[in-house]
Point group: C2
């Protein structure tokens, strides 16, 4: 068995990674995950999320002693006080993170060592959609563009091939690119 | 003119809101916004986003003296150390926040006063997609379910009508429900 140091590629324990893949191949139900969030409205454009538990690898996770808490806000031009980044900005954070982590993971699986990744991204939204002023305008992002500067110990061709694979396998990227059903139910009692 | 106190509904300045809508109707280009994010890989499943400026209402916003910073991480079962919530969890935070804020905004426009909103949500992902183990499995969320407990000074019918409108007009909800193009380019130099 390799030492822990030798098993680490891009900060990931490749032995744990390959063992996880082997376990899922033997028992695909281990790949089923459920992620969760609780959110409470504070006032105006401010609301707060609490994220802690999830289900995955066949059991409830208990690795987080404390919940993560995040604050959505809005800038003054959108009637808020910059209580936090706003939800469409958090979506960009989620997307950048997911593409980056998916890239690092599949690089490790291919034996590619990543030196650095820096990403700049932008997305356009026409508020006429949100405001319901023009039914021909989509309320969401028109498109999102990511510019990634990736340095690694492989050829440009290998990086392009990796990135092409990653775009199709990043969970957040694929959730944005594909129509994913969002079911909203009004219920009598949710305690957050 | 109403006093500021009388103009506030659900924590939103309704006079500013109606003036914004009137300005956009007169000059639709004011509705065009561009949101941005810069992200840098740290190690393994950890990466960090910096969010500050955006373009909207015809100019670059300068309301944020300091940038927001957010950390993506992964739990141990996904090869990380809980450095932060993970990207698919941040997506849920973005979605909860956007539906909530869109609801509060359109409630104010309709003269509905919201007392409280509490939301619990969950989404299922099969990691066989991310890992590339089964091409028939989508890497993203299969679906996302939101349970919202909304208390307000209106009838259940008015709330259901509001919520139905909101689902179709929330920018993040609509970005998830509709296929939105994500363009990923590899570039030589991005400084973050």
């Amino acid at each position: 068995m390799k030492s822990k140091e030798n098993r680490m590629v891009n900060g990931l324990d490749t032995q744990q990674m390959f063992e996880t893949v082997a376990a899922i191949k033997a028992q695909p139900a281990l790949a089923r995950f459920e992620f969760r969030n609780s959110n409470r409205w504070i006032d105006g454009g401010e609301n707060r999320s609490t994220i802690q538990g999830f289900y995955g690898a066949g059991r409830e996770d208990d690795s987080r002693a404390e919940p993560f808490e995040f604050v959505n806000g809005e800038p003054p031009v959108l009637l808020g006080n910059n209580e936090g980044a706003n939800p469409v900005e958090f979506l960009l954070h989620a997307l950048a993170g997911c593409v980056t982590t998916t890239l690092v993971l599949h690089a490790a699986a291919r034996g590619i060592r990543i030196e650095s990744i820096s990403t700049q991204m932008e997305g356009q939204i026409d508020l006429q959609g949100l405001l319901g002023l023009d039914d021909t305008v989509s309320p969401g992002y028109e498109q999102i563009r990511m510019k990634m500067d990736i340095k690694a110990d492989c050829s440009d061709e290998a990086l392009d091939d990796l990135l092409s694979f990653v775009r199709k396998h990043s969970p957040v990227c694929e959730t944005v690119c594909r129509p994913v059903p969002v079911i909203v139910e009004r219920v009598a009692a949710v305690r957050v």
